[in-house]
Structures are given as C-alpha cells and as structure tokens.
Amino acid sequence: MDKITFDQLQEELYHEKLPNGLDVYILPKKSFNKTYATFTTKYGSVDNTFIPFGKQDYVTVPDGIAHFLEHKLFEKEDGDVFQQFSQQGASANAFTSFTRTAYLFSSTAEVEKNLETLIDFVQSPYFSEKTVEKEKGIIGQEITMYDDNPDWRLYFGLIGSLYHHHPVKIDIAGTIESISHITKDLLYECYHTFYHPSNMLLFVVGPVDPDQIMNQVKENQAKKNYKDMPEIKRKFEEEPDSVAEKKTVLPMNVQTSKCMLGIKGIHIQQYGEEMLKNELSMNILLELLFGKSSENYNQLYNEGLVDDTFSFDYTQEQGFGFAMVGGDTSDPDQLAERLETILLDAKNSLAFTEEQLERTKKKKIGAFLRAINSPEYIANQFTRYTFNEMNLFDVVPCLEKITLNDIQKLAQEVIAEERIAICQVIPQNK
C-alpha cells in the first residue's frame, strides 16, 4: 500500500492497485462521524457504442441504458439492497453521469459491513425480465419529472446545439421510447463489458483505519474469480469543430425566460497534467470574464439583464468539453448578444492585469479548501480526476503555475463564433 502525504493540507492518502486491476484509495478523516465510500465504473451515458465483452463487433445500445443499469443493480433475487443498507444504519445511493456510474453509501456505524455490502452488490448483478419491465414505470416518471424542469431542458438543449453527433447530447436517462427497448440481456452485456474491477475505482473517506480497510477489500476481491480483461473498445463518430445549431429556443410553461451561451471546448483529447491545466485555465478565464467581481457581470446585473441565478461552468471529459454561461433574464436575445460580444472582444484583446489573475487564483484556492471539507466532493472528484489521469491534490500547485499568457492563448484558441451556441427557454404563450 502506498501512502501519499499532503503537508499543507494535512491529509494522507493510501492507495493500492489489486491483482484484478481494482484501484483502491483510502483517505482517513479522523474527526468526522461519517464514512463515505464510492465504487465507480468508468462507464456513463456516452459509452453507447462498443464491442461487448467476448464479441467481435461494435453494437449501439439504447439511450439511457447505463442509468437503467444503475437502478437495476440495487435489486437482487431476495429483495432490494437499499433495505440492507438501512438495516445497517447506512444511506445508499448511486448516480450516472456522462462518463461514470457511481454506487455509494455513507454511514456512521457498521462501516465494515456496509463496505462489504457495497462491493458485493455491485459485483453480483441480478436482472430479470419482470423487474426490468417494472423499472420502466419508475424511470419513466424520472424522465417526465426532468421534462418539466426548465433548467434541465436548457442544459441539454444547449449541449444538443453544441454537438452534432457525440452521445454527450443524449439525455442521461434516455427517453421513454428508448428505454422501452432495454432487456435483461442487454443489461448483462453492458455489465460484463464495463463492470470489471480493472475499469473501476473504490474510494473510502472517513474515520477509518487504512490497513484494516485495505485488508478487507483485498480479502473480498481474492474470493472472486475475475479473469483478465482485454481493453474496452469504445467508438465515437467524428465530431466537427463547429456547433450543430447556432440557436435553439424552447417554449415552456414558465414565466421567466432563460438564456445560456455555450462554447465548444478544445484540447478535449488531453489527459493528465495538460488536461488539468486546460480545465483550470478555462475556469480562470470564465471567472475573469463573468465572476461576481468582474465588470461584465456587474454591468449586466445593473442593467437588469441578469439576476442572481447567473452562473458559469466548464465541463471537460475525454472527447468532449463545453463552457456554459447564463441564467434567468428579462431579455434572452439581448443577453445572448451581450455575452457573445464580451467573449469575442476578449478573444481579440484580453485586458486583465497580474493583480486580477492573482486575486482569481486566491479565490480558486479558497474554493478548493472549502470543497475538500466535503467527503462526497473528495471521493467523487478524486475518482473523476483519476479516470482522466489527473490528481485532485495537484489543483493548487497547478493553479499557481498558470500565467496571463496561458489565459490569453486559451482565449484566442477557444473563443470563435462557430464554436458558440445559444439556448433559450421562453414562456410559451409569448
């Protein structure tokens, strides 16, 4: 077991790669009550075209299947694993993102038992036609719930405008139509392809003894006969640099309009340190342009074009990336135009000072410390970083190295009219 110490943060991280390929990380947090554990596979909604385990040819599976699988994994022949966790005083949950499916529990007692339950339930699938059919009703309601949510529609509407082909544009839960094609056999096919330990990561954070946890996990895995797994083959269609739709308008049952501008990311094939630098630089650029202390934000706010729902964010994973800026607005067209002008002006003449950059870095460092108060953040983000060959605890040193030149160069590369799209939600009676 390796031990990595982060002096300034006063944290220690333990790691071992087990013989079957499973990565196990443990971060002790002595003064916490709660232990939080995530068991994550590098498999999400974008992984819809791949060669199934033991087969020769690529298949494309129904939209929403990774999320469906996540729901169904909780059900076993003798009942529901949720029940077992709560009998052991734990609360369990799971989520599916574009690139990951994570199963998790948190508990303040019986940590060993709960950890055993977590690993075992994820590693023993039980799907039947009957329970698959029943789940379609529940997930159908989850999908309709999101259909009525304007922020969700805006988010996926914008991704749909940015991307021509990439499956990131597909709603994670799929549609009622697409999930109707899901069968138990398809679930097993996805499971056997993506749930091998060598494609997974276990993270445990809390008041635990690292040696004891590591031994428990090793013993558990040694009992299971995993064969070596060939590399997983995924396929993605070629994606143009430019956006698919310049502007998308969604009339909905709302009173307030919303407008979000998206920028299609660049350098999306990066891994590791380069990716970390690109991601952090993008975040700094957005903060400088649109942060609460920025001139732009204050001008837009004072004019009444934005309110306190205004936000911005950057997402990057293997093969896709996008920045989003916007929120509720009294005038969606005017806001779209202003945001685009701010960006295009910044491309040509980014006029920020060293002082502003230093201030933004300080803000990011404080935000990082605040974030790592949370065991959930540490486990989920560490996993995400590791899947992209980055290290969460490199954030502060990497931030410190970024220069104004880096930001200027990135602005010139990433900002371009053909990489920008707009999505708006407007009241339907207008």
Partner: protein, 426 residues
C-alpha cells in the same frame, strides 16, 4: 461519535455561539435575525439582507466588495431567508479558508468578522435611506426571485399547498414576500425598517471551525454591539380543520402531475412527543425504506419520488410525489392506506429499529457539515429549548412503538393539492 460542543456567550444585544472543531479547512460565520412572520414586514425582510450584502460604506460598489472577498482567498458571502414555524429568519453567511492551510498568514477570521460587521452596521447610506440605485436593483431581483417559484413545479406545488392549507395563518406567507408589496418599498422606509429590525429582532452569531473562543470574543467585543432587547415570542396555535379534507386541483401545461398533501401533526420541536414524531415520519415516508417509497414507487411503480417531510416549528407534515395524472386516485389511496397502517401499529420491529438507526446516522452525518450543525442547533433558538445533539439522539432512541402509534393517531390529513396536466385522466 463526535457531537459538537456549543458554547453560548451573552454579548451586548446578541448571543454568540462558538463551536470549536478541527473537521473543516474553513471557518464559518453565520449571523441570524429572527422576528415574527407578518404580512406587513415579510417583503421588507426579504429585501433587506440582499441590499446589505450588495455594498457597504467602505465598499460602495458590488464589484469592489466582491473583489475584496476574492482577495481574502475567495471568502464567500451570501444571505438567505427562512420560515421556521411562524418566524421569519434573515441569515448572513461568511465562510473563509482557515489560514493554517495556506502559505500566507493573513488573519482571515478577523477579516471575515470585520467584514460581517461592516455589512451589518455600516451600510451604504445616502441621506435618510440606503443607496437608491442598490435598492432599485435589489427590488427588481426580488420580484424575479418571487416569480421564479412558478417555474419550478415542485416548489410551486408545495407553496400552493401551504397557501391553501394555512390560508388564514401567518405561515401562508411566502418566504420571499409578496410581489405586489415590493413597489411600495423606498430607500427611506427600508432604512427605517433596518433600524427597527436591529433594535427588536432576536440576534444570534455562530462561529464554527478551528477557532479560539477567547480570540473570537475579543475581536467581536470591539465590533458588534446592540441594545438589549426581549425578543417577541410566538405560540403557534392548534389548528384543526372542522370540515372534510380540502381538495384543490389546478391545471397547467405540465407532463408530470405533482401531488402534495398536507397534514396537521400539532407537534412542534420541544414537545415531549417530538422525537416519536421524527421516528413516525421515518417509518412513514422519510427514507427509501419507508412505507411511501416502498408502496408508491417500488410496488406500484407510480412515481420516482414519494416522501414525507416535517415542519418542526409549525406542526405540519407534507407528503410529495410526482405521478401521471391518471394515477391520482390510486396514489392518494395508497398514501391514505399507509397512514392507516401506521395508526394501527402495522409496522414491524425491524422497520422501527431500522428507522432509528437511519435517523441516528442522518443526524451524525448532518453535524459533519458546518451548515447542518448550525441548522440543528438553531432549533433551540426558535423553540426556546436547550437540546444538544447527544440528548436529541438519546431521546429519539428511547421512543417506543406505543408512542409512535399514539403520534400516528394525532395526525390529521388537512389538504390535498394536485397540479395536473392538460390531458387530465380523471
């Protein structure tokens, strides 16, 4: 188990609560102001904290104030409003890095407290009122905030339920006030209200983190001083609907129907059977092993969510679920059956024990976050009680089956609200 120790110190005009813990990389400061919820004041109170946090006499622009916060390693500043029973609470939150995790030794806690004091006591005043431009902008944003409820159907249907159920009670007031009362607010009358609130509200300051109590006290005694006061107390009355259950259906263009049901428990924080009520709620609808989740979602496949929630200071319980319009009768029937089952004591020892274990877990997890800990401790201010986290857990564990059944029999369904789609199936 580590339950937090809360040290309460009477300061000039307010109470200081210091919770020392080395769990966090940051220190959290929260200022709370509590007053009775009234139609007259609610909208001004909804506006006031937003005006105060926009700028101050020394940082007269928002951009300037926000730059200063960024310089303090991204200290966060935000405000919010809450309804707890029939009290209206304004909160100001400042959180900053603990400098021991930084290479730069700037005393951030001291600067954070000074900034909070500046925001509370040194606002950007012009003549006899607040800066008019700031008030104008924040009025506009407040109107948008009030309107935005309409676009979030879950929040909207919950708010509509409360509005219908508590029609003639102060609790029906919205936490962000009334849109039609915003226009009448002026920089002058808001400033007048500001002075009144600081003279009359019950004031509490929480400092949570790896801090030194004596140091906090000494910084504060030079910063914040207010007149003595006797905070106004409210007793929430017992409400019981004389007539049958009130049923409201509203049509809108939504794909999923939102079912919200309100109940009177008439049990509030500090009552002897409050802990039994917590366990009742856990078995009934609080968790994924609860009767509502199992029967509405897992067995009948009607919903993605079906849960119940307590309002601890008003004595009400709310059930919420998102269903297809055509399944209204079936869902209401199942929900009614679950309460009947609880009244008859139709729950297993396993459900009972499991619920206690999960509540215990939930509370212990909650106190692992500064915000969660604050919310648990603040119940004591609202209810005028002194229940620490450990006592809370002990009392909850001591509850018996009989007490749960007794509580179940006190609970009365009051109002059913259903937001239904255009092609309603019933």
């Amino acid at each position: 188990m580590e339950a937090a120790v809360e040290k309460i110190i009477q300061m000039q005009g307010y109470k200081l609560h210091v919770i020392k813990t080395d769990k966090f990389k940051t220190n959290t400061i929260v200022w709370r102001m509590k007053a009775p919820l009234t139609k007259e004041d609610v909208t001004k109170r909804a506006l006031l904290p937003h005006v105060l946090q926009s700028n101050t006499a020394n940082h007269p622009t928002t951009a300037g104030l926000r730059s200063y916060l960024d310089d303090l390693y991204g200290a966060t500043l935000f405000v919010d409003l809450a309804k707890k029973g029939e009290y209206h609470i304004m909160s100001f939150y400042v959180e900053m890095a603990n400098e021991k995790f930084l290479s730069d030794p700037t005393p951030l806690l001291k600067k954070g407290l000074e900034l909070l004091s500046e925001i509370l006591t040194n606002p950007n005043v012009k003549g006899n009122g607040f800066d008019p431009q700031t008030v104008e902008m924040e009025k506009r944003t407040l109107k948008q905030r009030i309107q935005s409820i309409y676009d979030d159907k879950m929040r909207y249907s919950n708010a509509r339920l409360i509005e219908e159920m508590c029609k003639d009670e102060p609790y029906a007031l919205q936490v962000n006030g009334n849109a039609e009362d915003v226009d009448a607010i002026t920089p002058e009358n808001l400033y007048e209200y500001y002075q009144k609130a600081f003279a009359e509200d019950e004031l509490d300051l929480y400092v949570i983190g790896d801090v030194n109590e004596a140091e906090v006290k000494s910084i504060l005694s030079g910063l914040l001083q207010f007149a003595d006061r006797t905070p106004k107390k409210i007793t929430v009355g017992e409400y019981q609907r004389d007539s049958d259950v009130k049923e409201i259906k509203e049509q809108q263009n939504v794909k999923q129907g939102k079912l919200n049901i309100g109940y009177r428990t008439n049990i509030v924080y500090g009552d002897p059977d409050y802990f039994a009520l917590q366990v009742f709620n856990g078995i009934f609808g609080g968790f994924s092993h609860s009767k509502l989740f199992i029967n509405v979602r897992e067995k009948a496949s009607l919903a993605y969510y079906a849960a119940s929630r307590l309002e601890s200071h008003k004595g009400i319980m709310m059930v919420m679920s998102g269903i297809d319009n055509k399944n209204y009768d079936q869902a209401v029937g199942i929900i009614k059956d679950q309460l009947e089952a609880m009244k008859k004591g139709d729950f297993t020892d396993q459900e009972f024990e499991q619920t206690k274990a999960v509540i215990q877990n939930q509370i212990l997890e909650t106190v692992d976050t500064a915000r969660g800990l604050l919310e648990i401790l603040y119940h004591n201010v609202v209810a005028g009680t002194k229940i620490d986290v450990e006592t809370w857990l002990q009392e909850m564990q001591k509850t018996t089956r009989e007490e749960i059944i007794e509580v179940a029999n006190k609970i009365k369904m009051d109002t059913i609200y259903f937001l239904t789609g255009m092609e309603a199936g019933n």
